[in-house]
């Protein structure tokens, strides 16, 4: 179980593979569900050049740990990973990585789905998009988007 923020580029598949290798649960997990959120070059605006992610560091740490704890209380997870980018990101860069390991598939799939929804609506991160016209704060997340 681990959660952290990163202020530099992350390699989602490598992070997940490393987390999987770091825990001695081989032969126990039958299911790994993951979600990666990446930066697109368009949103309500087109031609987005970069994005800056601000957060509330002390609250973020506390919130991500609480999220993992709650997920592990609700589902029989063997392992869990949450990594979120902050700072400057570019189109194609990963913004968030979530992975859940469990014996059976329903726990990993449902926990992963729940984690990204919770994180989207409550974790204290804010995105500012930059186009050639300057910066614009993203106003809010919408359902499933």
């Amino acid at each position: 179980m681990a959660s952290w923020v990163s202020d530099s580029l992350i390699e989602p598949w490598q992070l997940i593979a490393e987390q999987q290798a770091a825990q001695n649960i081989e032969g126990q997990y039958g299911a790994t569900a993951s979600f990666i959120g990446s930066m697109r070059d368009f949103s309500d605006r087109t031609d987005i050049k970069k994005m800056v992610l601000e957060h509330y560091p002390a609250m973020t740490s506390r919130y991500l740990e609480k999220l993992e704890d709650t997920a592990r209380q609700r589902w029989p997870l063997l392992n869990c990973l949450i990594v979120h980018r902050v700072g400057e990101v570019h189109p194609g860069d990963a913004i968030v990585v979530i992975a859940c390991w469990s014996a059976h598939r329903r726990a990993a799939l449902d926990a992963c789905d729940w984690l990204i929804e919770e994180l989207k609506y409550k974790a204290p991160f804010w995105k500012k998009e930059f186009t050639d016209d300057g910066g614009h704060w993203v106003s809010g997340n919408t359902d499933g988007h």
Binding site: Y56, M59, Y121, S139, G140
Partner: protein
Amino acid sequence: MLSSNFKLAETINQMSIQVKFFASLREKLGQSDMELTAATTAQDAWNQATQNKPVPDNLLVAINLDYAKLDTPLQDGDEVAFFPPVTGG
């Protein structure tokens, strides 16, 4: 004796409340961190810190890193944060 008691009372009444603003709110208000010496609730802290600016729609409040409400009472040493809807993930 009198003067020493007076100082003690002053010390007791003096609180330390940390106030933080994030993202668009931080930029609009032009301030990110400040300290108040007294505040009864999160709303009171907002009023003092913004010179009574109206509370924006969808304002989020956290006290000591947990979500809270504007009418949540504050205690000495509390950190109260104000921010717009979150947009991570």
